[in-house]
């Protein structure tokens, strides 16, 4: 409860973790707000079906609030001229919105959307709220300043983790020799504030058919208790059609 998990990938695609957490929390009966910025609803829906969860049904019942970034963006840019009743969560993309203060556009509208969808209105049978973001690096590509992104995450943490006792899971891309300084700034900052970091990396030795990558699990015990060391575990993994198998380093099924 009240945990901030950071999903990080380097030189590989860590989106399988997003699919896992989505189906995990939905199966556990939590109310999930999913900010999906990079892929369409049908993509997640099809993968979730393979993992045994029906996204459309969850959306109908109100368990899942799905913000499809691509669709919202299109509605905003190609939509009608008149202002809709409620401002779009992605309105930082256009300079129409009056809430854009001065020269920097902040992600306040996005945060309001998240807060509104996760705050329980009336009796709810769902367990703790969860915010899932895929992925945060896209916000930088769309013109948000790194500080704005960090503020957004900070507000989300305060609201979801502390006030509502929920969890936040965020996916970011990063790389050690990346030239994208803004992205690295955001990722490093988030690393310092996370309770749990799941870091998927491509193998340093190159491409391999049987081992798709390496996963570092870092439990940041030093955050909660002074003097404690962070616990680091490393596993390797192979992604299959319906699940992911983890094994200790060097002990892949192909080798044994």
């Amino acid at each position: 409860q009240g945990k901030f998990t950071l999903l990080r990938d380097t030189r590989t695609d860590g989106s399988f973790l997003v699919h896992h957490f989505l189906s995990f929390y939905l199966r556990a009966g939590c109310k999930v707000c999913f900010v999906a910025l990079l892929q369409s609803f049908s993509h997640y829906s099809i993968v979730a079906q393979k993992l045994g969860v029906n996204l459309a049904a969850a959306k109908e019942q109100g368990q899942l609030v799905f913000l499809e970034g691509l669709k919202s963006c299109l509605d905003l840019l190609f939509g009608k001229e008149e202002q809709p009743e409620e401002p779009s969560p992605l309105q930082f993309l256009s300079s129409w919105s009056v809430s854009c203060s001065g020269s920097t556009c902040d992600l306040r509208a996005l945060f309001d959307f998240v807060r509104l969808s996760l705050t329980p209105r009336g009796p709810d049978s769902w367990k703790g709220p969860v915010l899932l973001v895929d992925d945060l690096s896209v916000l930088l590509s769309l013109g948000a300043a790194p500080v704005a992104v960090l503020d957004f995450i900070h507000y989300c943490r305060v609201s979801v983790c502390c006030q509502l006792q929920g969890n936040v899971v965020v996916l970011v891309h990063s790389s050690e020799d990346s030239e994208d300084e803004e992205n690295e700034l955001v990722v490093n900052s988030l690393c310092h504030h996370s309770d749990l970091i799941l870091w998927a990396e491509g193998l340093a030795t190159g491409f391999c058919k049987d081992v798709h990558g390496q996963m570092k699990i870092i439990r940041r015990l030093s955050l909660r208790q002074a003097g404690e060391q962070d616990l680091v575990q490393i596993y390797q993994y192979k992604i299959q059609d319906r699940n992911v198998t983890f094994f200790a380093r060097g002990l892949s099924a192909a080798v044994l």
Binding site: R11, D13, S15, F16, H19, L38, Q39, S40, S42, H43, I46, V47, K50, L70, K71, C73, L74, L77, F78, E81, L93, S94, S95, W96, D135, S137, V138, L140, S141, L142, G143, H173, S175, D177, S178, E179, D180, E181, E182, N183, G202, L203, A204, G206, F207, K209, H212, I239, Q240, D241, R242, V244
Partner: protein
Amino acid sequence: LVFTEEDKYNLYSNLLFKYFLAEGVVCGHDLFVASAKEHPENILKELPAPLLDDTCGKELGDEAAAVKSEDFQDSMKIAWRYQNLPKMETSPTTYTKFGHYYDLSKKMSPELCQSVKWHSFYLHEELSFEPKMKAWNMNSGYARLLQSIQRIISQEGFDGSDPQKKQRNVLRIGIQSLGSILWGDDVCCSDTPADPHSLTKFLYVLRGLLRKSLSACIITVPAHLIQNKAIMERVTNLSDMVVGLESFIGSERETNPLYKDYHGLVHVHQIPRLNSLICDVSDTKDLAFRLKRKLFTIERLHLPPDLSDTVSRASKQELAASAKLLSSGCGATGKRHLDF
């Protein structure tokens, strides 16, 4: 969304672009061609003619037959352990018939071109932008292109908005040399462009349009001109498939004996992972391309046997360095020579 990094002189990536469009014509898809460099009509006139089934099959069949006959004649005597490994397939065999083959020496006939509906967007012929788009915070050329694409998609019903339409078709979009100075974007000229987010915003909106409709898009970008590598990383994240073409013209690799049969390398940086947890990864990542008189082929790069007598140390080092570059799938560390 297929993102192609152009080679230096834009010879080979243009070929890929034309192949994509030609395939669209042969399959009966609608086309949308956008360019700031040459008029789309001219591009369409230059498409290669499709090879008729029997001639193509015969050509490839001849090659395959010749290779096979050598195979059965002598079994290996020294390296007999390798006998049981499958023979290295460098080019696609006749069994895998996916798509069509094209003859580069002939142009596509005008009747075939006219048989599909095509739309064009030539930047310099478009009217100046409308005031509504000022709110987009994007380069005006890109904004106009997006508007044009969206208009075609909704008018022609590619997004399923018109239930009356009898059969659904696919729209193939080709955008040439995006990001170059001709589009009004200085991302290729300076390290700190005036609007670094234009290109990425454009790609994001394009991605949304593609996801919402029955369309596929290929974009070629002069990536070697983009100084700001951060933008390239973001662009890679936003695309489904990223392919880079590196030609050997004018580089030191032209004379490297390792590459003597080929004209360039193909780098597949990213493959689409749509609707599933995994993607279809091929077992080799070293691909090279070759431009024969009629065909443009992409093959696996394999080292030729080292048969020369005069193998000096210097060339061996070079080969080793390039071999190291080949096998590291992620992030090659260059060899650093200490020159005195």
